[in-house]
């Protein structure tokens, strides 16, 4: 009896030791989960919440680093450079964008002018909203405090945040009525500033330049297909669309058009872009279709066949 008792204990102990010993050995270390950042002092201030990247001894168990390790590290990597264990499986040629490299502090979705850092609110909104057509989900189920902590964590990967302040958000004027005049003027803008070169004359993302586009990392990138979805990466409202082409989507070929379009004209372009969306019913499209029916032959083609200024 004693022999069996000892052997059971010995076996149990041996297994316990073997597992714990293995835990510190290289065989479990093929995936780096040790987060390394540019700074450990980063905070965020979002919608009344103050987020913290690290615990810094204040007893904040939900600090950003813990959350980042739990939710984000698989794609964005322990260094925040977008090289997590899953990154290699995202194939941009199939439309799946690589994870964001936080060390560059270059963000698509901002309320601030091109080339500037986004506000904390911008990053918070991106985490909350997620990025449609990518594997970045909406993290809305996380509490606001947790998302604020993640904002601080995202910022901690780049030294830019210690040297620069976030840009000043652009001013977005009140939306103008979506009249046929506004839509037609927007169509003219679409032609003149050459949106069609990437997005195509029907907005299907198949313009003559579409196949050649790459992001700043050299990865292929596709222009948005307005005919396929009404959900943009940076938001779904008219206001979001306006902001997108006024600030540009940094890191992508989509530039800022704030120097090419007057603030009030921006709404005309928004109204025209809404007519390109065939997956939903929009009032702009109804207005436009009605006008086209009542004005046969008056609409000139968009794209290379139409010289600038002759869209309508």
């Amino acid at each position: 009896m004693g022999t069996l008792k000892n052997s059971s204990l010995l076996l149990f102990s041996a297994v316990a030791f073997a597992v714990f010993a293995a835990g510190g050995s290289p065989c479990f270390a093929q995936i780096d989960i040790n987060i390394h950042t540019a700074t450990t002092k980063m905070d965020s201030h979002v919608y009344g919440f103050t987020g913290h990247a690290f615990d810094d001894g204040q007893g904040r168990p939900d600090a950003g680093a813990q959350l980042y390790r739990r939710y984000c590290i698989g794609c964005h990597g322990p260094g925040g450079d977008g090289t997590g264990e899953n990154a290699m499986w995202f194939d941009p040629t199939m439309g799946y964008e690589k994870p964001r490299d936080f060390t560059e502090a270059v963000f698509k979705c901002r309320s601030t002018p091109t080339g500037t850092l986004p506000t904390d609110d911008d990053i918070f909104d991106a985490i909350t909203r997620g990025f449609v057509t990518t594997n970045m989900p909406s993290w809305r189920p996380l509490t606001e405090q947790e998302r604020a902590n993640l904002v601080a964590m995202v910022k901690s990967f780049s030294p830019r945040w210690e040297k620069e302040k976030a840009g000043t958000p652009i001013t977005i004027p009140a939306e103008t009525p979506a009249t046929i005049e506004s839509i037609l003027h927007g169509r003219e803008l679409f032609q003149n500033i050459q949106c069609w070169k990437c997005h195509g004359s029907a907005g299907k993302g198949d313009g003559p330049s579409a196949a050649t586009l790459t992001d700043t990392k050299g990865e292929p990138i596709r222009p948005f297909d307005f005919a396929d979805s009404d959900r943009f990466k940076c938001g779904e409202t008219n206001r979001d669309m306006y902001r997108d082409f006024m600030t540009g989507l940094d890191g992508t070929p989509m530039p800022s058009f704030s120097d090419n379009i007057k603030p009030e004209e921006g709404w005309d372009l928004v109204h025209f872009l809404r007519t390109l969306m065939t997956t939903i019913k929009t009032p702009e499209r109804a207005t436009f279709d009605s006008w086209v029916k009542s004005h046969p032959g008056q609409l000139k083609p968009l794209g290379e066949q139409a010289p600038p200024g002759t869209a309508d």
Binding site: F12, I31, R60, R70, C75, F90, F131, R140, S229
Partner: protein, 489 residues
């Protein structure tokens, strides 16, 4: 052999003292491991439910959806509420590589020890006497081979053939789900066999041993009660569910067959022909409402009141060769369960309190047909129970667990029954360590100790000889020690 190994053990003792594993070793010492008793059939070990197929599909680590797999965190719960979709316009399988196969397999090779007191065992040369039964050895858990995914945008499915450790399979769940009906997250429909919307899921919890691997409250019925029902059992029927965008507010309303999730109009998926698998043609109702509250850095707090109202047939008149035909029962009598369960966070601590009040009709409580007269002293059976479970998340790869659970019968089905017969106390603690955590597969080292005390009846874990003690007032202590490698691919 022992002489060679003994020094090794001593040389590593210092290391072990620095690890949590020593706690289990000491427990085993105090437990008194012996192997002198005869061996019996080992009890089945319980299985749990994570789905790394989704982790592979979306490239998210296990920890994104699980506090510690298989338990869902609030992001995972929202993912499930959305019909296993991220809502990124890429959920439909048409967007996946054709080689993607939404399957996962899970089993837990383990060593475990079961010890049960006051068991009726044969004496020498004849007769029976009360004794302790200890069983120990290497073993396998049951196995899950789960397929789950989306058929199309907003249409998802799950098929879970699950076996016990002898590879006898049944469908643990099988359902199709339609989400965002009328373009709102408040209207989703699920049809098939599925787990009830229990905020504290028994299918996704962090205990594996024979005694710890079930919530006593989810399956308890008093002595002499014929009701085969467990609120933790998967049920068959249709559910309407809805949720807010972040799933902080949720509801669930189910219409269920009155057979505890059985198929072929029986109440059991594994034991056709058994006397307890005869059912009627009624339906049960289950409803729950969940509300979450943000509490700053403490985290998200949830609370869920729930109810289950059902009927069970007690009269079976249609027979063939004297054997009642399943699904033809009449004489339906009611029972109900009502309670509240919660999920509270205090930083790295998670608390899962549960309370339930339950009542079974007098005919169920005494296992008699409802068309027969009641005997003096027969009455409804009423009981209350609850537990509090605590998790401490050291980090996403290490969780410590404990649970204390009680069930108290407040009214026996027969008033001559000892008032405390069936009363149950259960305690479990353990840890799960995930040496690897990424999006392709999962491995957990699981250690657990559990102990259950039931007055006058065999504990629900069903180990030992499976018999109650000689006296109805004598407690039966049933203990489990478990160490295993829980893997899922």
């Amino acid at each position: 052999m022992l002489k060679r190994l003994a020094p090794v053990k001593r040389s590593h003792l210092a290391l072990l003292l620095n690890s949590i594993s020593i706690l289990i070793v000491l427990l085993l010492l105090s437990f008194g491991i012996t192997n002198t008793e005869p061996t019996y059939a080992m009890p089945p070990l319980h299985s749990l439910r994570p789905i790394p197929a989704f982790a592979r599909k979306y490239g998210l680590p296990c920890s994104a959806c699980h506090t510690a797999w298989p338990e869902l965190n609030y992001f995972g719960l929202a993912f499930r509420d959305r019909g296993y979709q991220l809502g990124n316009e890429r959920d439909s399988p048409i967007w996946q590589n054709p080689s993607y196969w939404p399957a996962t397999v899970r089993i837990t090779p383990n060593w475990h020890l079961e010890r049960t007191t006051n068991q009726i065992v044969d004496s020498t040369p004849a007769g029976s006497l009360g004794g302790n039964v200890t069983q120990q050895g290497f073993d396998l858990s049951g196995m899950d081979f789960w397929l789950a995914g989306t058929l199309y945008k907003n249409i998802s499915f799950s098929i879970l053939p699950s076996s016990d450790s002898t590879a006898t399979f049944h469908f643990e769940n099988a359902f199709v789900r339609f989400d965002n009906l009328a373009k709102t997250p408040w209207l989703n429909v699920q049809v098939g066999r599925f787990e009830l919307d229990n905020l504290i899921s028994e299918k996704r919890f962090l205990f594996l041993s024979a005694n710890g691997g079930l919530y006593q409250n989810y399956h308890f019925t008093p002595v002499g009660d014929a009701n085969i029902f467990g609120i933790g059992d998967n049920q068959i029927g249709v559910t309407i569910q809805g949720h807010s965008e972040n799933s902080y507010t949720r509801y669930s309303l189910s219409v269920l067959q009155s057979n505890d999730g059985g198929v072929n109009f029986t109440s059991s998926v594994t034991a056709p022909g058994a006397a307890d698998n005869l059912t009627g043609r009624t339906f049960d109702l289950f409803g729950s409402f969940t509300q979450g509250f943000q509490t700053g850095s403490l985290g998200l707090q949830r609370i869920q009141p729930f109810f289950y109202y059902g009927h069970r047939a007690t009269v079976f008149n249609q027979t063939v060769g004297g054997v009642a035909i399943a699904g033809t029962g009449t004489g339906n009598v009611p029972f109900y369960r009502v309670g509240v369960q919660s999920d509270f966070y205090l930083g790295k601590f998670e608390f899962l309190p549960f309370f339930q009040h339950a009542k079974d009709n007098v005919y169920l409580a005494n296992s008699i047909p409802s068309n027969t007269p009641l005997l003096p002293g027969m009455q409804d059976a009423v009981w209350n129970g609850g537990f509090i479970e605590t998790h401490y998340y050291w980090n996403p790869q290490l969780v410590l667990t404990q649970r204390y659970e009680i069930v108290r019968v407040s009214q026996q089905g027969l008033n001559t029954t000892a008032s405390n017969q069936g009363n149950t106390d259960a305690y479990s603690f353990g840890l799960r360590w995930y040496p690897i955590m990424f999006s392709r597969a999962g491995l957990a080292w699981h250690m657990e100790y559990s102990r259950v005390k039931s007055i006058g009846v065999v504990p629900l874990s069903g180990d030992g000889s499976g018999n109650p003690p000689l006296l109805p007032t004598t407690p039966v202590w049933s203990s489990s020690a478990f160490i295993g490698f829980d893997f899922d691919f």
